[in-house]
Amino acid sequence: MTGQTLSEKIFSRAAKVEARAGQFVMADIDCAMIHDITGPLAVKGFYEISGDDGRVWDASKIVMLFDHQVPADSIKAAENHQMLRRFAGEQGLLNYDVSEGVCHQVMPEKGHVLPGQLVVGSDSHTCTYGALGAFSTGIGSTDMASVLATGRLWFMVPRTLRLIAEGKLPSLVTSKDLVLRMIGDVGADGATYMACEFAGPTVSAMNMAERMTMANMAIEMGGKAGLVEPDDVTLRYIEERAAGQEINPIKGDDDAPCTVRTWEVDDLEPQVALPHNVDRVEPVGRVAGTKIDQVFLGSCTNGRFEDIELACRLMGNEPVARGVRMIVIPASRTEYLKVLRAGLVERLMEAGALVESPCCGPCMGGSFGLLGPGEACLSTSNRNFVGRQGSSEASVYLCSPATAGASAISGVITDPRDIQGR
């Protein structure tokens, strides 16, 4: 019998069967996350399934927070928040409300995700938590309604695509550039229904922030999950956040069947995804000089302290270029405080940037920071689809925090390596 992948082992534990790729299993969920956009439909579905006096399967395994429309940007959003607050109160759920930040930063940061767990969230970027060695995936509101009621969900056990990176990332080339390159090569549907397992020496050398950026983007190649096998970096991250919880780091077998692709990163250049597909990826040089109207530095992809610190390093003491609006949003309250205490909020404000409180911001495409027709935005987020950040006649380019910082002071898309040493 051949070995099992990390994903197969997690499903074996969660479904109490020997899970193999392609098999359908009914699995127990370790933790479920809902937020303000998809939560209301999930709650409505929950009551339709369970009746008016229904109770959730396990209140201690459900986390609620609001991040897409916070503070409430409209009366309808405020009503959605009220409805969810009521639900959390009645059911005894943990609700971080508007105060903590973007779900995919808050969940790992607060110790709600552990290696080897099966986690679902009603948001497609739930794949982010795979950076901690969990199997974590996005589901729709009705699937979530069913999870809230029963704590179980059917899955097809995915095949694994192992994306191996070898070598050392050059200076100012980040994990975002690497994952964009991988998406460009694999394609927007190249990993559909697969578990994307990021591995190799380059990934082992990454800190948790860098790994979360990689796992976050797995969905942009169709992946059901993005995973990094747990190691010392993982355990250190967990120990600081989930003290006292039992940790069961699961690793895959070396002989487990999977598809392998390898990238050599020693000569990798900064990458940009061009409008309007995440897999239209080119080295930054191909679009250097393109005029931009807005820079968005933030999101669950690149809104951590390390990202904002890197962008600030590129900006030095220069102001944001005339004619450019720069919006900076740390991904969580904790990350915001780190940025604040490092003196970076002051520097960004002096440079002319807007520093907003933790939320999804322009990446939500309906709350604030929207683009007008014909405008171009350079964004550290994860999607550049038509209409994603406002007008359907606007363009979004995706990049790393280094490229965002370099471009914010130049006013045009700029290779960060051209700024260094200026």
């Binding site: 009914m26 179980r152 549907d189 038509v386």
Partner: protein, 170 residues
């Protein structure tokens, strides 16, 4: 058997063009339907008729987990989506809200009358037949019950339903 007029779309039709983020604060399905596919064709909502089908390319429904995407299509009258392939979350969401989906590589023109036999995964356009992927029996059950909520209710009502809710192993 599902039968209707075809609207054609290409590859990578994402959830932001199916229903943009700015409309997600509403729970009014009619409003969602009024803006469906706005990102690709601002007239689509006014042209589409009840029972029409969508025939599309690869990776239909990629992007967000927003269930408002299949809901908007269903509410606009779309009876079935035939695509060369689907993004995973959209595929599940569509079945969960009772919107038929079938994976098949179909060659037809806009306006052609398309027939879909879900249980066999078969798509007919005039005299031509295209064999698609048959969906597992337990998913077909969910679809035929009108979605996961109705399916779960029926399950709860049946005192001796199968324990895992997946029917027989597909």
């Amino acid at each position: 058997m599902i039968r209707g007029r075809a609207w054609l779309f290409g590859d990578d039709v994402d959830t932001d063009v199916i229903i943009p983020g700015k409309y997600l604060r509403t729970k009014d399905l009619r409003l969602l339907a009024d803006h469906v596919m706005e990102g690709l064709d601002s007239e689509f909502a006014s042209k589409v008729g009840r029972g029409d089908l969508i025939v599309a390319g690869r990776n239909f429904g990629c992007g967000s987990s927003r269930e408002q995407a299949p809901l908007a299509l269903r509410e606009a009258g779309i009876s079935c989506i035939v695509a060369r392939s689907f993004a995973r979350i959209f595929f599940r969401n569509a079945i969960n809200v009772g919107l038929a989906v079938v994976e098949a590589d179909v060659d037809c023109k806009e306006g052609d009358i398309v027939e879909v036999d879900l249980s066999r995964g078969l798509v007919n356009v005039g005299e031509r037949s295209f064999q698609g992927t048959k969906i597992p029996a337990f998913l077909l059950d969910i679809l035929q019950h009108g979605g996961l909520v109705a399916h779960r209710r029926l399950e709860a009502a049946a005192s001796h339903g199968d324990e895992d809710g997946m029917g027989r192993s597909p």
